[in-house]
């Protein structure tokens, strides 16, 4: 029955636990809508035939609906609507309240791509890998205009609003690939801003995470003084910035985000939250990584965690070198490079 109705209504497959839940309400509402529409149609048609005009200028009996009948006509639909709302709103609250054991994934939208970052390391562009049977909480934001993360098979969408995080959660029911569409108009390539959710069996997902971690670990575990052979600091810095999550809050192209942009940061005079100014030189940049709350730039929230002990000195240096190269002139000469953070395939 579920499958028949689903096909009749052209609904896509039910990929998440929420989909099956919300489809039931859908069937009831559409079913009752058709029923009531049919009743009104036949009542109207009966009246039109039964009371057709037999001669011009006929007179009719004055007729007023009695208050009791009016009360029924108001009460019954109102009760029905409120019942639907009550059921629907419960589902809405349910899908807005992630379970505590949910796995977090940060979703960042920008014109015109989706980036998915996992707190423990890997990140990917346009492919969100999740384990089947485990709740996943998405923390969604945007770096430019408003986008909307829409998975038809999961029956859910959430806007990606620049400057704020919004959340939604889902649990994939079976392994498969599900279409992700951008649902909020975002410009020229809006209709091509597509991605996919790949639901993997838990074992497959773990294998993928391990594979990704190895890529991250080899770099992280390298002795502080040793840099990969043949690498220059700028390139290493760029990689470190992606791996350590710097780019989750700092943009490199001047786009406003949670933290100050790195574009033209080096040498810039910044106003501080506590008053006064500071020139962003090597010392200040290092201090900001190790003790971020010491001198917070005005206009931003003091939310950055300390990287003391997490970044090796060579990595810190590499980051600073990378920041130094981010000049407006450089970006003007060369086309902007995206993504800075590719999937970390070894």
């Amino acid at each position: 029955m579920n499958d028949l109705l689903r096909r009749l209504l052209f609904l896509p497959e039910q990929g998440s636990t929420f989909a099956g839940r919300v489809d039931r309400l859908h069937y009831w509402i559409i079913g009752i809508t058709f029923l009531v529409a049919a009743i009104i149609f036949f009542v109207g048609l009966t009246f039109v035939i039964r009371y057709r005009r037999r001669k011009a200028g006929e007179h009719t009996r004055k007729f007023e609906v009695k208050p009791g009948l009016e009360a029924i006509f108001v009460g019954v639909p109102l009760a029905t609507f409120l019942l639907w709302f009550f059921i629907g709103f419960q589902d809405y609250v349910w899908v807005q309240t992630p379970p505590e054991d949910a796995m977090d994934v940060y979703v960042t939208a920008k014109q015109w791509m989706w980036k998915f970052a996992y707190p423990d390391g890997p990140s990917a562009v346009n492919t969100l890998r999740v384990p089947v049977g485990k709740p996943v909480r998405l923390l969604i934001t945007s770096r430019d205009v408003i986008h909307s993360f829409f998975v038809p098979a999961f029956r859910m969408k959430q806007d990606a609003v620049p400057g704020r995080y919004s959340q939604i959660w889902f649990q994939a029911e079976r392994a498969g690939t599900y279409e992700v569409l951008c649902a909020e108009y975002c410009g020229l390539q809006h209709s091509n801003m597509r991605a996919e959710v790949v639901a993997l069996e838990p074992a497959d997902f773990q294998a993928w995470v391990q594979e990704q971690r190895r890529g991250v670990a080899t770099l992280q575990d390298a002795p502080p003084s040793v840099l990969p052979a043949g690498a220059n600091l700028r390139e290493v810095g760029e990689r470190v910035a992606a791996e350590e999550g710097c780019l989750k809050c700092h943009s490199v192209d001047g786009t406003p985000h949670i933290g100050p942009t790195w574009l033209d940061l080096y040498g810039r005079t910044e106003k501080l939250l506590t008053g006064g100014t500071v020139v962003a030189d090597e010392a200040y940049l290092t201090e900001s990584m190790m003790d971020p709350q010491a001198k917070v730039v005005a206009g931003f929230n003091p939310v950055m965690p300390s990287y003391f002990g997490k970044l090796a000195p060579a990595q810190t240096a590499a980051l600073i070198e990378f920041i130094k190269t981010l000049r407006t002139e450089r970006l003007e000469k060369t086309p902007s490079q995206e993504p800075v953070y590719g999937p970390l395939r070894p």
Partner: protein
Amino acid sequence: MAPSGPELAKPRDYLREETTLWSWLATKDHKRIGVLFLAAVIFFFFLGGLFALLLRVELLTPQRTIMSAGMYNRMFTLHGITMVWLFLIPAIPTTFGNFLLPIMLGAKDVAFPRLNLASFWIFVLGAAFLLWAMFTGGADTGWTFYTPYSLNTQSSVLPVLIGIFVVGFSSILTGLNFIVTVHTMRAPGITWMKMPIFVWTIYGTSIIQVLATPVLGLVLLLVAVERVGGLGIFDPARGGDPVLFQHLFWFYSHPAVYIMVLPAMGVISETVCAFSRKNLSSYRMVVYSTLGIAFVGFFTWGHHMFTAGQSTFDAGAFGVLSMLVAIFTAIKIFTWTSTLYQGSIVVTGPFVYLSGFLFFLMFGGMTGVALATTALDLHWHDTYFVVAHFHFIMVGASIMGFLGGLHYWFPKMFGRTYPEGIAIGTAVLIVFGFIATFLPQFLLGNMGMPRRYYDYPEHFQSLHVASTAGASLLGFGFLIIFGYLAWSLRYGPVATQNPWDSRGYEWMTETPPPKHNFHEVPDYTHPPHDYSAPDVPHIPEVEHA
């Protein structure tokens, strides 16, 4: 309905009073202003319809069919702006409202005739500016101008905003004029509860226009200021809040839906009585629900933002309030249907539009209820389901009201009738064309097709083709209507004073009316829409408990 000598020998009507071009362009006669507006909105309707057809042709195939992505984005913006601000909002109030409101109230004109003329020319000025802006540069933001996209896009948003701002003044002035007219210019005998329903709905609409349109002007101005001056209001990069824009925008644009639909409800209330020769089965309920819609309509805007990161509590509150608006609509649907009971029903062109109206309002309303359950909106929001829903309720219903009114009052306005058979046939074609266009779009929305997509995954194509086929049927239907009505203007049989044998107050004066509407004061002792006693208008006392 045949032309007769005495009919033509009467004192000159408003059409023949003066015939120079200047006498039309500078007229302060509400009837002529109504006709001017009618010509203008019909022009914009065909323009907006042309854009719609071009969009439908583009959507026949994924990827490029006839235009580029940039062109497509400008085209749907053009379609939305033209249809919303240049057709749907002014469609009924400025045309039939202008023409009939004073006549139905037994007044010689509206309260401020000069302001009324100003309203028309402000509309023309704003519309011309808007069209110039759209054709020379064009905005690619959609008619909703969501920030921060509208702040950052390279397209020429600014002139478009100014154009809409100017048009908004026309809307406010017309609303103000009608409110004052209803309050101060009712003829002796027409008490509040004896006003024709059409007057009530225009009154409700005018209140919304006067209260909500300034908010639209304000928010568009803020976007303009932010674009030009770099003030941080809506752009998070400058410390602004993009969702604040949505709140302000929908605070106008949701009630705007009722600006479009309420007058259509008024037209339907008039025609359902005229063609069933029956009093409304509950005049009071229609009046109260009209005011209820006008009031509660202001408190539902948040249902456009269920997925925008609004708090769960807000979503719930806006959901419940949206259900209340639906109830007011349900009351009306029951009232119109039960009005047919024990009537004397004749199927005419306007009656077919009335039936189509009931269907679109019913189905559009119920899908609106489904959307307001919040949980289902998570799937449908910003998909073709929503597109189909609002085309049913605010476009389908409004156009049914507009065409129904046009056919019902055409003899009143121009003194001619049109070929009835063709009118009925075309009305049926329009209703089915509309269903064929938008039913596939409901299903597309269920499948997950987002709106404003230039390119789409291939599995959506068959339904897109079906929708385009329906749209061409619809376009064809509108051309036929234009054809026979234009023909009838000149060659249609001359109408008698009351060709429908209606008891609406507007039919108690000559057809077409003389310049100052009346030669003798009509008798308003009978309530409107009363068909219970023979030839009521000339009986001073009628029993109506």
